[in-house]
Amino acid sequence: MITYEPVIGFEIHVELKTLSKMFCGCPADHFGKPPNSQTCPVCLGLPGALPVPNAKAIDWCLKLGLALGCQVNLHSKFDRKNYFYPDLPKGYQISQYDQPFCHSGHLALLSGKNIRITRVHMEEDTAKMQHTEINGEKLSLIDFNRSGVPLVEVVTEPDFSSSDEAVEFLKEIQVIVRDLDISTADMEKGSMRLEANISMRPQGQTKLPEYKVEIKNVNSFRFIKKSMDFEQSRQTQLLNSGVSPVQETRGFNESKGETVSQRRKEQAHDYRYFPEPDIPPFVFSPHYIESIRRTLPKLSSVNRQELSDTYGLSTANAYIICSDHKMYTYFIHLASTMPDKTKYISDFIINKRYGEKFPETPEKLLALINESQNSFQIDPKILSEKVSNILSQYPQAVSDYQSGKIQARSYLIGQVKKSLGNVETAQISMIIKELYG
């Protein structure tokens, strides 16, 4: 029996949190607003309306592209992607075809594997459609508030060989987008949308399979992983029985944990792209691109590396602290004043889950660490060292303990607690046993 391996690529749509829409001055923040209350002739596709691009949206697209190691096309333009659907008011979407703003980037996974990013381009969002039934008639309700909101699309090469790799990548994209503060990248709210393309090929083969299955409308990392895993086994089964999986779009049924075919009418995919005549082209100077590059903040990935290298934090702790800018700033501040207690600090901050309220001064935090009512675990190695240091001051008591005097043990534990605060007795006990027998 042949072993198959997955070939996975992604298209990620990021909804930008600009104030206004991509081609008009309507508010872009559409969440929870009454239907069709934030439209204008442009985004409603009224006769005679014309698009004018949002400068900040373009800058943010360039920013994301640069953060993802892309090259910028110094000559770029918008194109029309022509197709008919009720959520597309003009009957075409203004997007980018052969001269996207950014291309040829990459992002490395923790394993060191490089994922190639084909392109990062701009387009406008479609309207929102809801399907319902009124008086027995099946209807679709359209709300154009979302029509025209700026979207950045990130397209990867089919470089993922496992669902785990894909999820790691997707999470990192979310972190980067939030680092750049260009989108809330909230999957539940739809400001970050994922489309997976997955197929299977015999292990070792390098040629791309003849088909691919698209998975859409999955809005959590957990479920996208489940859907990829399900597809992997579904497609493998088919291939093993000599059947090539159908090229189609599938959704994910959360309750069943299965992907399902979305039997939408197959539209001929001839988008008849041509340059958008209503928008003059873009010519960027290298100087301008550099000015955008200079606005890039230090990315979380860099900060994480620093926390591990400089302060010895675990990958997991570094990840958590870096994901919250306030927590990160607070940690750095404390760590610089108490460099020998960084592990205590990181544990304490994370375990106590300080949200908005952090203790004001490092002294206060240290006091809290020491006086904490809930005893907590300290890194055994560090504790061991500390206990050893403390107890070296009481050689008589140690020798009494070693000769079996029970009170000596309590005495030693008491001395440790006096010095370190409310550390778990069991932990101290164990260490004393390890140290002195």
Binding site: P89, G91, F144, R272, Y273, F274, P277
Partner: protein
């Protein structure tokens, strides 16, 4: 002379000198319309507030109290806008086009919306879904198109001036068939915001008036960059009226392309030659020149325009406004089909891209010619008005008729059509084109021509 027969310039003087009121002006136009509109089918929709607006008009404004007709592809708040298409029957726009907004701000009174070829697809006004407009000079003939209604409205003195739009010939050709002055500005000189799009890369709103001086007046009001139109030009708006007068004395180098003359029907050639001689008599130097034959422009324009049309008409799906796509007329369907084809996968390079390359050749050719000449003679049409029914079974009627307007339209150049005489009682138009944003040169030479001729003063017997 009746008040509705005045030009805009004359009316402004009369209003200022309190010889008559704006209401009287509007009333005179309305009377003319009520007498002749059912015969000529010029107006699709009347502004029933026109007299009220006239009462409140401020004549100190550039167009204060002046009744103007507007082609029905300009969105106007409070007046239905249909582009003469059944699909948009009864459409009440939710916003105003920039051009009409500027005219209104300048005090103009929009008296009504005029008939056109449906969706501007044509050069006859015969493809209107609401019946053709008849030519005021000969009711058995067409007024031209697609701004046929606006041309007829001016020719029949139903208004003092009108707004039209040109994609390739749609201002200049009906102006020539109806003996009015039609001015197509440089592409990007006037805003397309609120004009139902035909070919996005060539559509140019412009004035249709009784005189060149009126044209300059109207251009001054409607020209200028619009933040709602990304293709509108930041080029400063000049004082076109002042320029027109100051430049009248200047002598220009004018070329006349032999290829353009070749295309003319024999009956009108003598009038065109006479007009050229007139320019020489005014002191300008006129020399023969050569340009890429306009027959190639037909191909370029047909492809580019129909491709853009196929995309621009995609928003008419009957969901947010209008009827569904079964309401499209045959001409619209035909153009959409061809445009869809020429943009298709595998055919794009052969048609659309090739057409854009030939476009570059045509632009370069004009640049070369304009390094030698200030202006180029460009008769707007091969011949005078055709009979009703001429467009039947002619799948490329519009594009063939506009052969002489297409090169300059493709290149985005400004151009004018001026009355230059009559043949068998039918008006003949003469034309000039210039480099981009050289409107003042065209206006100066044309104004001088009109000051020494009286063709533009002739009125039809309705």
């Amino acid at each position: 002379m009746k008040l509705n027969q005045l030009s805009i310039s004359e009316a402004k003087i009369g209003l200022k000198n309190k010889q008559f009121s704006s209401q009287e002006l509007v009333e005179a136009c309305l009377q003319q319309i009520s007498r002749y509109n059912s015969k000529f089918n010029v107006f699709l929709k009347m502004n029933d507030q026109a007299l009220k607006e006239a009462e409140k008009s401020d004549i100190s404004r550039p167009f204060g109290g002046i009744p103007i007709a507007v082609k029905d592809n300009f969105l106007t708040l409070g007046l239905t806008t249909t582009a003469s298409a059944d699909l948009l029957s009864g459409y009440r726009p939710q916003y105003e086009s920039t051009v009409t907004a500027r005219l209104k701000s300048a005090g103009a009174i929009i008296i009504g919306k005029t008939n056109m070829d449906a969706w501007a697809h044509g050069s006859s006004t015969e493809t209107s879904d609401f019946g053709p407009t008849l030519n005021p000079w000969d009711a058995t003939r067409l007024p031209g198109g697609s701004s046929g209604g606006s041309a007829a409205a001016v020719a029949a003195d139903m208004c003092l001036g009108a707004i039209g739009s040109e994609t390739a010939g749609s201002i200049r050709q009906p102006a020539s068939w109806c003996s009015v002055t039609g001015f197509k500005p440089t592409y990007g000189r006037t805003s397309r915001y609120g004009v139902i799009a035909m070919a996005s890369s060539t559509d140019s709103p412009g004035p249709m008036t009784k005189t060149v001086a009126d044209s300059a007046l109207m251009l001054s009001v409607i020209a200028g960059q619009d933040p709602f139109d990304a293709t509108s030009s930041p080029e400063p708006v000049l004082d076109y009226v002042k320029n027109m007068k100051t430049l009248t004395k200047r002598k220009f180098a004018i070329g006349f392309p032999k290829e353009y003359l070749e295309v003319l029907e024999p009956e009108i050639k003598p009038l065109i030659i006479a007009a050229i001689e007139k320019l020489e008599a005014l002191g300008h130097s006129v020399k023969e020149t050569s340009l890429i034959h306009p027959k190639y422009s037909i191909g370029v324009y047909t492809i580019l325009q129909r491709s853009e049309v196929s995309s621009n008409l995609a928003r008419f799906d009957g969901i947010r406004f209008g009827k569904d796509r079964t309401a499209f007329g045959q001409e619209a369907k035909r153009r959409i089909m061809l445009g869809t084809y020429t943009l298709s996968v595998g055919l794009y390079d052969q048609y659309y891209r090739k057409a854009q390359q030939v476009r570059t050749l045509i632009i370069n050719d004009f640049n070369r010619a304009f390094s030698q000449f200030d202006l180029i003679i460009n008769p707007p049409t091969p011949g005078p008005a055709l009979k009703i029914g001429a467009t039947r079974n002619q799948p490329m009627f519009g594009e063939l008729q506009d052969i002489l307007a297409e090169p300059s339209s493709i290149a985005g150049l400004p151009g004018i059509s001026l009355p230059c005489g009559f043949v068998n009682g039918l008006p003949v138009g003469f034309g000039l084109i210039a480099p981009q944003f050289h409107e003042p040169d065209i206006l100066a030479v044309s104004h001088a021509f009109q000051q020494t001729t009286d063709y533009h003063l002739q009125k039809p017997i309705l």
